[in-house]
C-alpha cells in the first residue's frame, strides 16, 4: 500500500469500498435467496448474516502531506469488512403441521430474514457503490488532467 501512496491512493480507497459494498450485496442476496430455507448443515433454519465494516489503515504511509490525518493505527485508506456475523434474533415461527420440518406443536422455524429490510439494505449498498464509482471516475479525471499538463 505504501508504494501506491500519492496520486494513485484514491483509486485504492475507492476500490476498497467497491469490494466491501459488493461483498455486502453478496451477503444480502444470500439472505434473500435463503429467506425460506428451513434446514441447514448446522441444523435449524438459515440465520440472517450481516457484514461489519471498519476503516482500513495504512500503518506506514509515505505521502507526507497526509501526516496530519494520521491516527495511532496509521493513515486511513478506505474501508474493509472485518467479519460476517449472524443475526441473533429468533426465527420466524409459522404454523404448518404438514411441513417436514414442523416441530411437535406443528410450527416451522423460518429464517429471521425480513425481505423488506434486505431490499432497503440492497438499495443502500447500491447507492454507496455508485457514490464510490463517482469518486473513482473523479480520481481518473484528475489524474488524466494532471498527466496532460504541458501537452
Amino acid at each position: 500500500m505504501g508504494a501506491l501512496s500519492g496520486i494513485f491512493t484514491p483509486f485504492a480507497i475507492s476500490a476498497s469500498a467497491l469490494t466491501a459494498e459488493r461483498l455486502r450485496m453478496d451477503v444480502i442476496s444470500n439472505n434473500i435467496a435463503n429467506a425460506n430455507t428451513t434446514r441447514t448443515l448446522e441444523g435449524g433454519p438459515y440465520i440472517r448474516q450481516r457484514v461489519v465494516f471498519a476503516p482500513r489503515f495504512d500503518p506506514a504511509p509515505t505521502f507526507a502531506p497526509l501526516v496530519a490525518m494520521m491516527t495511532p493505527e496509521g493513515l486511513p485508506v478506505g474501508v474493509r469488512v472485518t467479519s460476517i456475523q449472524k443475526d441473533p434474533s429468533s426465527p420466524r415461527m409459522v404454523y404448518d403441521p404438514g411441513h417436514p420440518d414442523a416441530n411437535a406443536e406443528g410450527y416451522v422455524a423460518y429464517p429471521n430474514v425480513n425481505e423488506v429490510n434486505e431490499m432497503v439494505d440492497m438499495i443502500s449498498a447500491t447507492r454507496a457503490y455508485e457514490a464510490n464509482i463517482t469518486a473513482f471516475n473523479a480520481t481518473k479525471s484528475m489524474a488524466m488532467q494532471a498527466l496532460g499538463i504541458g501537452k
Binding site: I7, T9, P10, I13, S14, S16, A17, A20, E21, R24, F53, A54, P55, A64, P65, L66, A68, M69, P76, V77, G78, V79, S124, A125, R127, A128, A131, N132, T134, A135, A138, T139, S141, M142, Q145, A146, G148, I149, G150, K151
Partner: protein, 143 residues
C-alpha cells in the same frame, strides 16, 4: 506607522499552482476516504482546508524581521516561501449524522468531490497554459 516591506512581490506562479494542486489532491483523497466509509459505524468524516493558509503564506504584509517605518524608505524584496506548505486535515468529531455514529453525508461529499474535481482540472489547465506561454516565448521568437 509601518509600511509593507515589499510593495510588489512575485512568487513563481508554477509553485503556487503546484501547492494548490497538491492540496486539492489531498482533499480528493480525504473525500474518497469519507465516501468509502459511508457505511462504517462510528466513522467520522475529515475535511481539508488550505485556501486561507495559502493566501496567508502569499501575503506580502505578513510579519517579518524587516520593517519600513517611512514610505520613503527603499522597499526590499521579502522572501515568500511556500516550502513545507501542506493542507490542514481535520476530523469532524462533534457532529452526529446517523444512529450508528457515522457523520458522512453523501450529498455533501459528492458536492465537494465535484467541486474539487473541477477546481483541480481548471488548475491543471492553467498550468498547461502557463507552460504553453513559456514554450511560445522560447520557440516563436525565432520567426
Amino acid at each position: 506607522m509601518i509600511y509593507p516591506v515589499a510593495p510588489t512581490q512575485s512568487v513563481d506562479p508554477m509553485l503556487i499552482l503546484q501547492k494548490a494542486m497538491d492540496s486539492l489532491a489531498v482533499q480528493h483523497e480525504v473525500v474518497a476516504n469519507n465516501l468509502a466509509n459511508i457505511d462504517t459505524p462510528q466513522f467520522k468524516r475529515s475535511v481539508v482546508s488550505f485556501q486561507d493558509k495559502l493566501k496567508a503564506a502569499l501575503d506580502i504584509n505578513q510579519p517579518s524581521d524587516l520593517w519600513r517605518t517611512n514610505p520613503m524608505h527603499m522597499p526590499m524584496a521579502q522572501k515568500i516561501s511556500l516550502d513545507g506548505f501542506k493542507p490542514d486535515v481535520t476530523t469532524i468529531r462533534e457532529t452526529i449524522g446517523r444512529n450508528d455514529g457515522n457523520n458522512v453525508d453523501l450529498e455533501m461529499e459528492s458536492g465537494i468531490l465535484a467541486e474539487n474535481n473541477l477546481l483541480y482540472n481548471s488548475l491543471a489547465d492553467v498550468t498547461g497554459r502557463y507552460i504553453a506561454n513559456i514554450r511560445h516565448a522560447i520557440s516563436e521568437g525565432r520567426q
